[in-house]
Symmetry: C2
Subunit: 241 residues, 2 copies
DNA sequence: GGCATGTTGTGAAAAAATTCACAGATACCA
DNA sequence: TGGTATCTGTGAATTTTTTCACAACATGCC
């Protein structure tokens, strides 16, 4: 393991590799090569190997990677090897989808408490939880000890909520509100913006269709007509988990 | 306007600039400098100017940018200057949040139809819409003419749905399912993965807190102690819309 | 063992993205 | 009018990220 900082794109891809590996394990696959990963994830084999090289050596030349072993390594790197309680703020439409999202558990994330400031909602059930008063945030988290929080309140309330979260000891925030949060340097924030994603899609509609429909068979060419073309295309569809 | 391809990060930031500009217009601000944008968005002034330079010249030296004018330009670039119907597939938890999301309208996106394959759900109301049978996808979109679709079905159904969407004439897909879609080259896909975001947050919890708590006042220094520090920190919180 | 095949890990090269730094434009003021 | 302050747009420098390409290793087969 080197001393170099790990690029953020690498961290993002790690989560994708993990998804692919979990699927493979489910399917009973014991071993995968970097080219298998490329086929399954759309991320190039070289990229995969380089990404892993930031953390150590996990494969065997001539063989590939042990599915089980690599899963364990990536989970350790990403800190997914332990139960992680999270706080959710905002018991609205989006919050409802989030508390009902079963996939969190597969990575040992767990929404441990939900907060709102609407008196009508406080005390009501929300998924498996009871909606708590946002005023009790610090108090409740003293019990839970969550370090991660999700902000799902309207944009104009997000900054205030962020400050309360920081005060309650939160060190990482997933922000769904369309606003740029100002937080102290020890708090890490990631923003999710559906509108941003849609805007990028929209832009591409405006562009000349670089690719014609000719020759599309539904198959990805194993012997690409133009090597760069496959890489470029697949790249765009590759960073899900 | 040059012939260069526009970097994807630039497109993503454009949406953030637009949000900031809309807020400013709302507040009655007529003119903004690139440093104002930096303060409001967390994206550096130089980055902002460079980003715009891919599309032309929009500012006046010594003055800044006309809020109204720049909004119009960015909307045109991002193709947000017209009504855009979208198809939503998957009338589940996430779909419910999406149909109820009012902010889409601010950028002239509109969910024009919702599809599901669950007989119990088909025909029921869903937001302002009635859930349609996925089998009628092509037929319905012949009327609507949507080019953008949102996939909110379980991962194991996503590829099949993507193919149906392509067949129905969709050219851009926002995919919430945790899987890598294979689509023809003329279709542009963006993936949104909450788990990926959480994984990156989780990784950062594991890291040494580079920053100590000393000196944090809750105020962003207007006359930064160390200019680079502010930029670096704010950067992490900067790409919402 | 010797050889063919397949795969990793990684420096080096290339490409992409960001930041710098400054010429030149604009406004304002006395 | 000239002087000062402010701000844009952009080539160039720098930094970051991706891709290439190959030595070194593993396996299986004869
Ligand atoms: N609904 C979506 O699909 C969607 C998509 C992308 C982004 N978002 C964003 O997510 C956020 C939430 O969206 P939503 O659709 O769930 O909104 P919503 O109005 O349904 O829910 C917001 C909830 O936050 C609560 N709230 C408001 N101020 C609060 C405060 N200070 N403290 C605690 N709780 C507070 C409200 O009482 C409400 O229950 C918004 O910022 C929205 O822009 C939503
Ligand atoms: N709920 C969340 O907060 C959340 C967060 C991130 C990602 N996701 C992802 O979004 C997707 C949907 O999540 P959800 O929570 O809404 O799930 P859900 O089970 O509540 O809803 C899925 C819907 O898709 C429908 N469906 C299944 N197969 C279909 C098909 N072939 N054609 C048309 N419709 C079909 C189902 O009938 C159901 O109504 C999943 O892939 C999930 O992983 C959800």
């Amino acid at each position: 393991m080197t001393e170099t900082r790990v690029p953020t794109p690498t961290l993002e891809r790690l989560a994708t590799y993990l998804r692919v590996l979990l699927d493979a394990r489910e399917a009973g696959v014991q071993t995968l090569s970097s080219r298998d990963i490329e086929r399954l994830s759309g991320i190039s084999a070289a990229q995969f190997r380089k990404d892993l090289s930031y953390f150590g050596e996990f494969g065997k030349p001539g063989v590939g990677y042990s599915t089980q072993q690599l899963i364990e390594c990536i989970e350790r790197i990403l800190r997914l090897d332990r139960e992680q309680p999270m706080l959710l703020v905002g018991a609205g439409n989006l919050g409802a989808a989030l508390v009902g999202y079963p996939n969190f558990r597969a990575h040992r994330f767990r929404i441990a408490a939900v907060f709102d400031n609407n008196f009508v909602k406080i005390g009501r059930p929300f998924g498996d939880l009871i909606i708590e008063d946002i005023a009790r945030l610090k108090e409740v988290n003293a019990q839970i000890g969550a370090q991660i929080a999700i902000i799902a309140v309207p944009a104009n309330a997000a900054q205030e909520v962020a400050e309360q979260l920081v005060d309650a000891g939160i060190r990482a925030i997933l922000n769904f509100a369309p606003t740029s949060l100002k937080v102290p340097p020890w708090v890490y924030v990631r923003n999710v913006s559906f509108l941003q994603e849609l805007a990028v899609l929209s832009y591409h509609l405006a562009q000349e269709p670089k690719h014609s429909r000719d020759g599309w068979t539904g198959e990805l060419p194993s012997e690409p007509t133009r090597p760069a073309s496959l890489a470029a295309r697949v790249k765009e569809t590759s960073d899900a988990i």
